[in-house]
């Protein structure tokens, strides 16, 4: 603890009380809308028939089918993580260290898939790799229902996580350290291996763990591309709950996933803390340079090609399909979206856009309020530190806990006055906000932490009330980060699928839910409409992301952080 902070503590003896006060609202929110529903559904499974079903644990783990699921979940996550690192690390380097025209656009482009709903990515890959897909047309090659489609889709999604997390740090590593090593006689490779790699190590580990977390709990991609043969733990929880109605098994599986996710988050927190230790950082602008020599040009070309084939091609195929009507290219499928096909939705599918935007706005508002209060609580000087660090990790949990568990939990726990929200539209934004909050906290925390405590202290000494200090000192500095957080929460809410698919009412579908429902119905028209709706959803996501990229903080001020908060997760 710095001297300034110690002084602040002496000056502000009720610091810890204020901190806990700030934390109370987010804590209540998580208790009510996360812990309580999840506990309710898990307990319902474990207490079936009035007594505890702990014996089920051994039974479930002994089931060869379940063991197969656990094995598949783990190895596909490992393989996806390795493949993503392999493909994305060169991209991280290129975006961090090379300067070339269109770099900002490229950075925005590679982030689009990350905020896309898994259903859209799933349908994009289906259009590329499935029956009658591009590869099928060209070479008769079909990869749907193979594990390759799943792995490639995971790379597609998580490319940005690696580029942002590793690249963000790489761009700020002082290149002079490596140069010094070379001057002392080390070869280029040795210099890189002994200087840059160790410095990047924790960032690579953090990115890898994040990708592992996302792919370990993969749902939409696996249900769309995996067919009945492949199931992750998350998919199996859904099947056991929704199809087989074996709540005890689902509960046991939820607990296993919960434990796995908690472990991943713990390891992650540890790597991030290590990473924060003494590295000499410089502004990114000082480290990037124009490509030099054949090797760097080749690398740049290679990365551009990868992005083109792996990231942009699936999206392009999606767009192309949406215009490819039976009678040649046209807007037929888009027009069909405005018609009311009673049997699918009870409302024209295009209304899903309005629903999605409304829900996402509400979810963003909730996530911002909760996330900012939590971030403020976490940065306030004062006691109760260990307690709050636990709180920090707790806020991340919704990212890894089965969305289906959350959705089901909502249905059975929030069904009585004074909290009968089941028939209410607010249920969907609440579920989406749960996923948005971690992103808000991750974006706000580093910025708030970077604000010099002496500023606040000075203001207080001059007699400013706490809310005044916040308004005059923190808010102006954090305003940009707040916008970034809002944009991110918005995009994530827009794309949320797992929980929404469960609680969205049939007459108020969101875009991802409408896409999934159209994909699940026969006929070319439904498929075409699904593609058209996916394209619209992609546009909305991409637009909010580009806006976010525009307000991205510039310069060396406290808010100079990667626009996508995954870098700090």
């Amino acid at each position: 603890m710095t001297a300034a902070r110690k002084a602040a503590r002496r000056l502000w003896p009720k610091g810890s009380a204020a901190r806990l006060g700030l934390a109370a609202v987010p804590a209540a929110f998580f208790a009510l809308f996360f812990a309580y529903p999840v506990t309710a559904i898990v307990l319902r499974g474990l207490r079936e028939g009035g007594h505890w079903q702990f014996g089920r644990l051994g039974e479930v783990l002994g089931d060869p089918g379940i063991r197969h699921v656990l094995w598949f979940t783990t190895w596909q996550a490992l393989a996806s993580t390795a493949l993503t690192l392999l493909v994305a690390l060169p991209g991280a380097y290129v975006l961090a260290r090379l300067d070339f025209p269109g770099k900002a656009l490229l950075r925005a482009l590679v982030t689009v898939p990350f905020v896309l709903p898994t259903v859209v990515a799933g349908s994009a890959f289906l259009a590329l790799l499935g029956r009658g897909g591009l590869l099928d047309d060209l070479w008769g090659l079909r990869l749907d229902t193979t594990v390759w489609a799943i792995l490639l889709a995971h790379v597609f999604f998580n490319y940005a996580v690696v580029v942002r997390t590793v690249g963000g740090l790489w761009a700020q590593l002082d290149p002079r350290q490596e140069e010094a090593a070379r001057m002392l006689g080390a070869s280029r490779l040795t210099a890189w291996r002994t200087v840059t790699l160790p410095a990047l190590g924790p960032a690579v580990a953090a990115a890898a763990l994040m990708v592992f977390l996302f792919t370990f709990t993969s749902f939409g991609v696996v249900t769309i591309l995996g067919g009945p043969t492949y199931a992750t733990l998350e998919v199996e929880i859904y099947r056991q709950t929704a199809d087989v109605f074996d709540l005890p098994t689902a509960a046991v599986l939820s607990l296993i996933q919960f434990a796995a996710v908690a472990l991943i988050l713990l390891v992650h927190a540890w790597t991030v803390r290590r990473r924060e230790s003494a590295l000499h950082l410089v502004p990114p602008a000082a480290t990037a340079h124009r490509p030099r020599g054949a090797a760097q040009w080749t690398l740049l070309a290679g990365v551009l090609l990868t992005v083109l084939v792996l990231l942009l091609l699936p999206l392009a195929v999606l767009v192309q399909r949406s215009f490819d009507t039976g009678g040649g290219p046209g807007l037929g499928y888009y027009r069909a979206l405005t018609r009311n096909d009673d049997e699918v939705f009870l409302v024209p599918p295009v209304e899903a856009i309005g629903n999605s935007l409304t829900y996402a706005l509400a979810a963003t508002a909730i996530a911002l309020v909760i996330g900012c209060l939590a971030a403020a609580a976490l940065t306030r000087p004062g006691g109760a530190g260990r307690l709050l660090r636990g709180f920090d990790a707790l806020l991340m949990l919704p990212l890894g806990v089965s969305a289906v568990t959350v959705g089901f939990g909502f249905l059975i726990s929030l069904d009585e006055p004074p909290l009968d929200l089941r028939a209410s539209w607010i249920l969907v934004p609440l579920a989406q906000a749960l996923v948005g909050v971690p992103f808000v906290v991750r974006t706000m925390l580093p910025v708030l932490r970077a604000i010099d405590p002496r500023l606040r202290e000075a203001a207080r000494v001059l007699g400013a009330a706490p809310h005044r200090v916040w308004r005059e000192i923190d808010l102006p500095l954090a305003a940009r980060a707040l916008l970034v957080a809002a944009g991110f929460a918005f995009a994530v809410s827009l794309g949320e699928f797992g929980a929404t698919v469960f609680i969205a009412r049939p007459d108020n579908p969101t875009l991802p839910v409408a896409v999934a429902r159209l994909l699940g119905r026969p006929g070319e028209s439904n498929y075409g409409q699904a593609m058209a709706l996916s394209t619209l959803l992609m546009l909305v996501c991409a637009l909010s992301l580009l806006l976010l990229e525009r307000v991205r903080p510039r310069g060396r001020d406290a808010a100079d952080r990667p626009a996508v908060p995954t870098g700090e997760m």
């Binding site: 089918g65 009945p228 409304t358 706005l361 026969p522």
Partner: protein, 363 residues
Amino acid sequence: MSTVTSRTTYVGVALAAAVGLTTLTACGDSEDSSSGGKSKDVTLVTHDSFAVSKDVLKEFERRTGYKVHRLKDGDAGRAVNKALLTKDNPQGDVFFGVDNTLLSRALDGGLFQPYRTPELSSLDAATRLDKEHRVTPVDTGDICVNYDKKYFDEHRIKPPKTLEDLTRPQYKNLLVTENAGSSSPGLGFLLGTAAAYGDEGWPTYWKKLKANGIKVVDGWEQAYNQEFSGSAGGRKAGGERPLVVSYASSPVAEAVYADTPPKTAPTGVATGTCFRQIEFAGLLSNAKNPEGGKALIDFLASKRFQEDVPLNMFVSPVRGDAKVPAEFTKYGTVVREPYTMAPDKIADKRDDWVKSWNTLVLK
């Protein structure tokens, strides 16, 4: 059921809600009173496949003064499970779409309360499976292997007739079926084989099917409209399998939905492979509008609705006096002796069978 009427209001409420949890609670309350409070509203919770002619439904609404809301909640199995989870405080008044394969799960779970419709005596006695009248039969359908007539003509092979035929070498790599764990025709087909070969015999039969190249996909839509070469959708999608597990009424649907009505249906039914499915409706326990719910059940059993059923959902009515449309007699196949199984036995074995089936066929 509430619809989004004014988005701006909602956004306003959302912002208010985000500020304080109290507002949120109040918001929930107001929603509740608007959706369930009026006794003239009656809500039918059902699966995605439910369909009724608009004028038939309008007539019921006009006659009784009830406004019917429909809450379509995914496919049959998921809709039942969700209804079970929320049974203490149901999302509607009547549930339609639980079939004999899931009936005991719904009954044992206390999903329904008894109601004996005055129409009961007109309904086929063989379909009235619950002596306590917690459910009322509404329709029946047979899950059967369908074949692509053109494929078998061109290859000069006789289409299969029985389950045993499906294991013969001339039908190798021709059949596509659904996941018994997640699809109701998939489960029905599994139960049919269990009825035919017995508790011990069916795994051996499925091993033979697997060795004979059976393909399993997740749902009926994918099997029928993507993989099956005989359906209109499958032909367009380049489906490669001339045999599919579907319904006895599917050939009728193929003919009815053809651009120009054909002389005969393009697909046929292997009548020795069928399993009888019965769909029921019931008054939900704790229904907010039980009187409206009862009227709705009477309506589902009424002659008007029963005669409307075949061409909307492609299933058969359970009323003896309901006239079956001409298309059904022209293109349809009558299944004389489908496989059947008592709901109690299904309840007893279903989950274990599905589990073994999973390990045997999928893994």
